[in-house]
């Protein structure tokens, strides 16, 4: 299984949606996407509800993002982290460090089923 990373805008927030497994192979790509997003927006969320695996390199990408956001005085949040992501953040004792939002994000097009 590989990871998919997609970007979308919701209001003034740029959201990076991550799906799959975030390991040493994927983490550099995640960091690049976070860095790009922080260049474009002062409000970035990383949506992690569909992440089934994350390791220390994935956590490191998120930590880098947090530090970069602080440096840029930007908002940076983890959105709906999956149970596994939460477990690893707790193991790293970083669950209190990140701004974690557990409510599902509701974009302008959400709920439109055709």
């Amino acid at each position: 299984m590989t990871a998919e990373i997609q970007r979308r805008e919701e209001g003034d927030r740029l959201i990076i949606h991550v799906e799959g497994e975030v390991d040493l192979d994927v983490a550099p790509r995640l960091w690049r996407e976070i860095e790009k997003a922080l260049r474009k927006s002062s409000n970035v969320g990383v949506e992690l509800c569909d992440v089934v695996y994350i390791d220390s390199s994935g956590v490191a990408a998120l930590v880098q993002g947090l530090k970069e956001a602080r440096h840029r005085h930007a908002r940076f949040a983890l959105l709906e982290p999956s149970q596994r992501v939460r477990a690893v953040l707790e193991l790293a004792q970083l669950d209190q460090v990140f701004n974690i939002e557990t409510e599902p994000s509701r974009g302008p097009t959400d709920g439109e089923i055709v």
Binding site: M1, T2, E21, D23, L24, D25, Y53, D55, S56, S57, V59, A60, V63, Q64, L66, K67, R84, A87, V88, L91, A92, Q93, L94, V97
Partner: protein
């Protein structure tokens, strides 16, 4: 090229995989280990997969090619009450002092994988590789609760 085999001896199940030392092989190693670990370790399986993955990542990031020959060798043994993960030719004796967990309160990358491994596993040791002088194997053990350990033989108890 990846190779794998599986053997059972008495109550001990053994799985071995040899994979290239590449980041793309990590998912393959996890997928190889997951079925056995999920069956015998129950709720601990996800953490054991993490410890295995972190150790393999450590080889990719830090180890010299002349030690492991560009390959990652993983052996998993499931015996009643204990899981043992052995990673062959993990490092040289001089590398051991550099394998340290980071100071957790520091919000920074680096050393986190080693912290995970030490937190998850009950025993972590570096043991001389019998076939490769100058190389150490990483041997990690996790004790399993008795009820979980009973599943080592595929839950065959009636």
């Amino acid at each position: 090229m990846t190779g794998a085999d599986a053997t059972t001896s008495g109550q001990v199940e053994r799985r071995r995989i040899v994979a290239p030392k590449t980041t793309t092989a990590l998912a393959e190693i996890r997928a190889f280990a997951a079925p056995l670990l999920r069956r015998v370790a129950g709720a601990s399986a996800d953490d054991l997969i993490l410890a295995l993955d972190e150790s393999c990542s450590n080889i990719i990031k830090h180890r010299a090619e002349e030690i492991e020959g560009g390959r990652i060798e993983v052996t998993i043994e499931a015996a009643p009450g204990v899981i043992t993960i052995r990673i062959g030719k993990f490092c040289r004796p001089s590398d051991v002092a550099q394998i340290k967990p980071r100071d957790l309160p520091a919000v920074q990358p680096g050393g986190l994988g080693t912290h995970f491994v030490k937190h998850i596993m009950d025993r972590v040791a570096y043991i001389p590789d019998a076939e490769h002088p100058g190389a150490l194997d990483l041997v990690m053990e996790k004790q399993l609760p008795t009820a979980t350990a009973d599943r080592t033989k595929g839950g065959s108890k009636a």
